[in-house]
Subunit: 255 residues, 2 copies
């Protein structure tokens, strides 16, 4: 049994207000990819955010004192810093060029997941638009999953991902930011290994592994393939909880 990861070609440009679910379903048909039970769709946050109109025009933002100070320290636009702070629970680290926060959604990431690339919104001259993460990515995932079930009667998993940096490694990788119908972790504690010993480190971040796999097939520069179809996920699909992935502050050695 292979895992097969297929990017959907000819995905349309998404604008605020577009019905993302129906665009995905049409694109699946256009790609001649009929869904079967246990398939998974992995979707980059950017098209979800666009459809949900999570644009913010920086020219409308008045930065707070804190944002102005942090803007100087990080050499970032203080209005962008203000938006980042509004999207965050707390600042975790900062330095010139870098502002790492705990996002309201619970994960730690750079700039609250806000970036400028592949965004056409805002005035063409100033291009002051930035795009926030979806308000509730797991709810966005559920909407798409429900649309699939309602059209085809198939249970699938839906995963929303973003490219994020890592504490100690160069290079961003795809990570989960929301999910529906797919377990976040597989807990193998108590399972026996090949020699009959009980496994030690055995909680596996399977949706993050899947997020990374799917991200590989999306590329970064050309956001023409924001949706990826996955067949052959080796675990049973079941409702998962994104928050299972979030390490509690008490067990966090690195903030």
């Amino acid at each position: 049994m292979s895992l097969v990861i297929t990017p959907l070609m000819r995905f349309p440009m998404i604008e605020p207000g577009d019905d993302l679910s129906s665009e995905i379903l049409s694109c699946l048909e256009d790609n001649n990819l009929p869904l079967v039970e246990n398939d998974i769709l992995v979707i980059t946050q950017k098209v979800v955010s666009k459809a949900e109109n999570r644009f913010v025009d920086l020219s409308t933002i008045t930065p707070s004192e804190k944002a102005i100070k942090l803007g100087l320290q990080t050499e970032k636009d203080p209005r962008l810093v203000e938006v980042i702070l509004r999207e965050s629970n707390e600042v975790v680290r900062f330095r010139k060029g870098s502002l790492v926060v705990e996002h309201k959604l619970g994960f730690i990431c750079a700039s609250a997941g806000i970036d400028h690339s592949n965004i056409s919104g805002g005035s063409k001259e100033s291009n002051q638009s930035v795009l926030l993460l979806p308000v509730d990515p797991s709810a966005s995932a559920k909407k798409i999953r429900d649309a699939v079930f309602s059209k085809y009667g198939k249970n699938i998993g839906v995963l929303i991902i973003d490219s994020q940096g890592r504490a100690w490694r160069n290079g961003v990788v795809g990570m989960s930011i929301g999910l529906s119908g797919i377990p976040a972790l597989i807990d193998e504690r108590g399972w026996k290994d090949l020699y009959g010993s009980t496994l030690e480190i055995t909680i596996v971040g399977v949706v993050d592994e899947l997020a990374a796999a799917a991200s590989l097939m999306m590329g970064q520069a050309n956001e023409g393939t924001p949706v990826v179809h996955v067949r052959g996920f080796p675990y049973k699909l079941a409702e998962g909880n994104f928050n299972d992935l979030m390490r509690s502050k008490e067990t966090d050695l690195f903030r």
Copy 2:
């Protein structure tokens, strides 16, 4: 174009001294998977370490003062702690149950990548054997790559992976620890996005994305599938440098 990840079935148990390259080549034939140019083999470190006899019998280890103290603080066997320290450049964090180090190979990980599961070595009664990471995983990867080229005349990539934890997320995921014939990072800086803007965060950890993808198909408990075949990697294969993945201490905000 899909990415297709296929675990090799019926992979034999590996013992110290086994010729891993020839076991892999036989198993590929047994699986009816003829290699083509640009294919990649992803291999879990455990079979590499076993073939290279990286077992250490804890009953032969005398812990240092430092290891004894750290053993008490982490509630780990002081002899295991001693072996972890010998495999490491420095201790990064510790607490009850957890010892995070910078491995000699440059990456930060728990317990220097040493674990007990899926190990049959050592006396059955005491089972005091532990298995270290390969001495030079990229050299191990190159050996396998060279064996493939010499038998089939095909250029492939070889990636050695391990399951590692993350600073802020629960669950281990597959990460690269050595490579040959495959780029570690893809640097998309300067590429234009769909709207003609220059990309910002654009260094992508492609081999770590691939490591995670392959890990998903290996499972953890049943180490029966330690080798995974990958076809359809979307970047051009070329010699890569594992150390490109390692964040320099100067830019590390989290140690």
